[in-house]
Symmetry: D2
Subunit: 344 residues, 4 copies
C-alpha cells in the first residue's frame, strides 16, 4: 500500500523522537517554563528574525486557531476568512463557540485578495447600519491554503497593508508552513513575521507528534498565558512541545522536512501532468489534487491510500495526494507504475 | 537536588516511550481512528469492566474538564464542586468560559459529602425562586482530591445515589487516578465506572507525556466527537494518546505506576511523622503536605524541590511533596538525611 | 414631512396605549404570571389554533432570535438562514455570541427554497468529513423577509417537510408578521403554527411599544423560562408585554393593524408603477423598494423620510418606503403629489 | 388585600404614563436616537453632575448587569460580588453565560468591605499560581443591597479607592437606586457618578414600566452600542425608555418616587418595632424584613401580599414587605390594624 492520504499518518520525524528520548528523564518545570521550550522559543525567534517574539506551544491546530482568534478579537468583532478557510468549514464551529463570527470573503484557489479585502472593509464602514453589524476585527489566511496554494510576497504585503490601514491584525494559519517555506516562493519566515501580527508554525503536519507554535512577532497581548489556560490550551508538560520544536528548529530540520516533501510532490505533479492527468489546482506544495476517472479510482483502492476531495463531474473525482517528511522517495515512482498499469 | 515538586516533572514512563518509538513509523488514520487508540479503548473497557464504554483521548486535564462539563450540561445548568475543586480555582475559569457556573459545595479535606449534597439539591428545588437560579446539573468530584484524599466506597456510593435520585450525572476528575487506585482503598476502577456517569483516567500526571482518557461507562452522548472537535480537543494524531494509553493499560502498567509512587509517599509520610513533623492533611496518596518551619524551608532551598501550598502560621508553611512513577526509591531516604541534617 | 422611514417611528397603536392606561394601577405578579399575559397567551393560542402552545413575551426581535435559536440548538449545531437573513447580517453577531454558527443558504428575494435546503442537508450528511463540521440544527426563515416578500403555503409546506425529514426545527422570525397575514397570501396564522416548530409574532413593528411573542405551538422545551432569564430576556413587569399583546389580539387588532398598512403600501406600489418607477422587489407587504434617481432623492430630502437600501447603479438608488399601522391614509397621495412636483 | 410583595406590582408612575401618552404619536428615529432619549440623557448627566457621561437605556436589570459586566470584562477576568449579590444568585447564571466567573466575597448584610476587598486582591496577586486563576477584573456592588442596606459615603470611597489602586472598574447595580437616594444617607447621585466607573439607575422598580439607565460617568468603552445590540439589549423603539426616563428625571420625579416609598417604609419599620416584632436586617430603604411567627403568617394569607424570604427558626420566618412609589399612605396603618387584630 502506498500512503498519500495525508501528512499526519506517521508518528514524528526520527530527530524529533530522538530529542524526546534524550530529554525524557530530565526533571523540568511545567507549563512551558522548561528549558526545551525556552530554547525552542529562542530558535524560532532567530528563524523569524523576530527577537521580541512571544511564542506559545499549543497541542493542535483547531485549538490554536480558536485561542488566537477568540483571544484577540474584541466582543463586537468577527474574523474575515476565505469561504474555503479551515476555520469556516472544518473546525466544527470552534471560532463561533468563542462567540465570534467568521466573515466569509471571496476566494480564488483558497486565497483572498487585498483589493477585495479593502473593498469589503470600506463597504462595511460606509454602510450606515454598520453599528448593527459584526465589525471585521481580524484577517485570517492559511499559507499554504487548504488547496496547497501560496501567497506571493507582493500579495502578502498587499493584505498586510490593508490590515494596517484598518488597524486590524493579520493572522496566518501555518498548519503546513514547512511545505510553504520549502516551495518555489519569494516568502520567507522573516517576511511572515514582519507582515503578520500573529501566526502559527505548524508542527503536527510537519514532523511533530503534536503541537503548533503560536508566534506574536512583536509581543503577545496582555495575560495571553491565562487565556490559553482558560481555553484548555496549556499543557502541564510543556516540554512535550518544547522538545519537539527544539528538534525541528535545530539544524534547520523544519526546512529540511518541507524540502523533501515538496520535492516529491513536484515529482508527482510532473509525472501526473506528463500522463495527461488534469490537476484541479496548480499547487506548489505537498498537496496535489489530480482529477481522476472513477474507474481508475476503483482500481487504486487496495493499492494507494489517498483522500477524497470532491466530485468533479459524472465520471471524474478530485482527490488529494499528500506527501510529507515521511514519504519515502521511491513511492512516487511506484505510484506511477501503478497508475500506468491501471490505466493500461 | 531532590525532585518532589510535582508528578509531571519528567517525560513519560519508559514503557510508554518504548511504545511511541515502536509505533512511530507505522501509517495510521487520524483523529482517533488509529489501531493504538482502538486497542487502548479495549484495554480500558476491560479494566473498567465496562464493555459499553465510549472513550475519548484529550490532551490535558483542564481541557478534559471543560469539554466533559460544558459538553454535558444543558444551558440552564451549572456544576457542583467542592469549594477547593480544581475547576473552581485553578483552571482560569475554563468552565465559565463554556457558559456555565461552578456551584461551590462545602468540603472537608477536599471532599464533598452526600448528605450535604442532597440537602443542597433539596434546598434548591424547595426555593420558590429556583427558576431564576442556575440549576445544579452535574456533580464534579476529584479523586484523589486536590489534597490527596480519597473517597471511600461508601462515600462514593452515597454521592452516586444522590445524583441518581436527582437525575444528574456524577463526573470524576481522575487527573491522578493511578495514585488513588494504588492506595489503601476499597474503591476499584470498576467501582468508579459503575458509580460515575463520566470520569477521566489521568495520563499526564500518571506516566504519560500528555493525555487523559475520558470515559463514558454507559456510552457517550450524541455527537460528542464533534463537541470535542469544536472545543479544540481532538488531536489529528490521535495515535499519540492512543499509543500511550495502550502502553499504560498493557500488563497493568497504570497500576504499577501508582503503586511505586504511593509506596514511596507512605514511606515519606511515616518518616515525617516519626520525625514529629505535622501533616496538614492525612493523605493516603502520592501527595504529602507537611507543615514545615520557615527556617527549615530556607535551608532546603537548594537541596529539595517542592511546592509551596499555603502559609500555616507566622512561622510555618504548608508545602507539598509529590512522588510519581519517576521517583527513585532512594530519594526518600536522602530526603530524610537532608531533613535530619538541616534540623540539627 | 412625510414619514415612511420605517414601521417603528411612532409609539404604539392607540388601543394598545389604552390598555396600558386602563391596567396601570392594578397590582399583578411579576415575570409573566400577570393576568394580562395569561389572557394574551389564550388569545394567541386561539388565533393560532394551537391550544397546547407555550408563549413567552420578550422585549425585542434580536433578543427573541438569540434566545430561541441559542436556546434550542445543541452545542454542535448551527442554524441555516438565507444569506440576507436578519440574524446573519444586522444583529451584530447575536447568534454567534451564543456560540452557534449561522449557515448561509442561497436566497432569492430574501427567500430560501425547499429543494436547495434539502440538497444542502443531504450534501452535509454525505460529506465524509461532516463530523468535523457544524451540524445544521435548525432552519431560520423570516416572513415577511427583509425584502418584504412572503412564502406561499406550498413553499412553507415544502420547507417544513424537509425540516421534519431531517428532524430539525423550523423557526420563523415574524418581526413584521401582521403585514404578512394581511397581505394577499394563502398562509394563515394557524398554518404557521402547524408548519413551524417555533416562531415569533412581532409586536414592536406591528403596533406595540415593545415586545415579541415567542410561540412554541406544540409546547416549549424544558426549563425555557430559566433560559430566557439567563439571557436577560425576562421582564420583571411581564404585564408590559402581556397587556400590549392582549390589546393586539383582542377584537382582531393585530390583523387590522396589518391590513391598513398593507392597503396603503399596495396603493403606493400601484402609484409608483403607474409613474414608471421601477421596484427593486415585488413586495406584497408594507415595505416597498422603489429605485429612484439620485437627483430626485435630493429633492425629496426635506419632504419625505425614507430608508436608504443600497445603490442600484451610478445614478439610481434603491430606497425603502414603509407603511405601518400609524400611516395616515392621506400621506400616500401627498407622496404622489411631491413626486409629481419633483419630477416636473 | 394589602400589597407589599414587591416594588414592581403596578404599571408605572402616572407622570411616566402621561409622558408616554403625550409623546405616542410623534415620529422619532429608532435605536435610542429619539429626542426623548437625548433629553433623558441630558437630565441624567445633570442629576449626576457628570457632563461627559454616556448613557444607555436597557429593558431590564439582569440584562443590564450581563451587558455591563460581560461587555467590560476582558476574557481572563471575573467580577467580585458579595456572596448574596443578585448576579451570583438570582440571575440564572447570566454573567457566566457571557463567559465570566462571579467571584464571591464575604458580606455583611449584603455589603462588602473595602479592607476585605483589598486583602482578596492582594492575596490574588501574591498567589504564585494566579496566572492559572480568574483575574478579578471588576467589583460589583448593589445599592441598596438585596437586603435593603446602603453603603455610607466613607464605605463607598473606600471601595472605590481599592478599585482605583488595582485599576479595575467599580460597578453599581442600582435596581432600586431611587430608594437609596431618598433614604437617610450621605451618598448622593453625584457621589455615585464620581466614585463608580459604571452604574445603573433602575427604572423598573422605581416607577417605570421597564428600563434601566446604564451610566458611564466618564464615557463608555469603544463600540458599546454594538455590544448592546449583540446581546439583544437595544430596543428598536428606544423612545419607550427615553420618554420614561425623561419623565423620571424631570422635576425630580425619581427622587420623589423614592421619598414617598421610604417614608412609608420607615413608618412601617417604626410600627413593627413598637409592636415588638424583630427585624432580620436594619434596612433604611423601602424593603423591610420582619421576622414573623408562622401562625401569624397563616392568618395574614388572605389579607396581605408579601414575599417569603427565608425560614428563621422552627416557628418563625423572615418575610419581605416592600413599599414603592405606588404604595398608598393609608395601607401602612391598615397593615398595623391587621397585625394587631391577628396577634390579638
Amino acid at each position: 500500500m502506498l500512503y498519500f492520504e495525508n501528512d499526519y499518518d506517521r508518528g514524528c520525524h526520527p530527530q524529533v523522537l530522538k530529542k524526546l528520548c534524550e530529554t525524557n528523564s530530565v526533571p523540568q518545570p511545567g507549563y512551558g517554563a522548561d528549558e526545551y521550550s525556552e530554547r525552542a522559543r529562542s530558535l524560532i525567534r532567530e528563524a523569524c528574525a523576530a527577537p521580541e517574539a512571544d511564542i506559545f506551544f499549543i497541542s493542535g491546530g483547531t485549538q490554536t486557531n480558536a485561542v488566537a482568534i477568540g483571544g484577540l478579537l474584541r466582543p463586537w468583532e468577527g474574523v474575515y476568512a476565505a469561504g474555503t478557510g479551515h476555520i469556516g468549514l472544518h473546525e466544527a464551529g470552534a471560532v463561533e463557540f468563542t462567540g465570534h463570527k467568521v466573515l466569509p470573503l471571496p476566494q480564488r484557489q483558497g486565497k483572498i485578495d487585498a483589493r477585495e479585502l479593502r473593498a469589503s472593509l470600506k463597504g462595511f464602514y460606509a454602510d450606515p447600519n454598520h453599528t448593527h453589524m459584526v465589525f471585521p476585527g481580524m484577517v485570517y489566511i492559511s499559507h499554504p491554503t487548504e488547496y496547497g496554494t501560496l501567497y506571493g510576497l507582493r500579495e502578502l504585503e498587499g493584505i498586510s497593508d490593508v490590515c494596517k490601514s484598518f488597524h486590524i491584525p493579520l493572522y496566518m494559519d501555518g498548519a503546513r508552513l514547512a511545505y510553504a517555506l520549502a516551495a518555489d516562493t519569494d516568502v520567507t519566515l522573516p517576511d511572515i513575521a514582519r507582515l503578520c501580527d500573529v501566526f502559527y508554525i505548524g508542527g503536527t503536519k510537519c514532523g511533530a507528534l503534536c503541537g503548533e507554535a503560536l508566534v506574536f512577532p512583536r509581543g503577545a497581548p496582555e495575560h495571553f498565558e491565562t487565556v490559553t489556560k482558560q481555553r484548555g490550551a496549556m499543557l502541564a508538560k510543556g516540554r512535550l512541545c518544547g522538545a519537539q520544536f527544539e528538534a525541528l528548529f535545530e539544524d534547520g530540520l523544519y526546512f529540511k522536512v518541507g524540502r523533501s516533501a515538496v520535492a516529491l510532490a513536484m515529482e508527482m505533479k510532473a509525472g501526473l501532468t506528463k500522463r495527461g492527468i488534469d490537476l484541479f489546482i496548480d499547487s506548489p506544495t505537498n498537496q496535489q489534487f489530480p482529477i481522476l476517472d472513477n474507474a481508475l479510482l476503483e482500481k487504486l483502492e487496495d493499492k494507494v491510500w489517498y483522500s477524497f476531495w470532491e466530485p468533479f463531474d459524472g465520471s471524474r473525482t478530485v482527490v488529494r495526494f499528500a506527501t510529507s517528511w515521511a514519504t519515502e522517495p521511491q513511492v512516487v515512482s511506484e505510484l506511477f507504475k501503478i497508475l500506468d498499469n491501471c490505466r493500461g
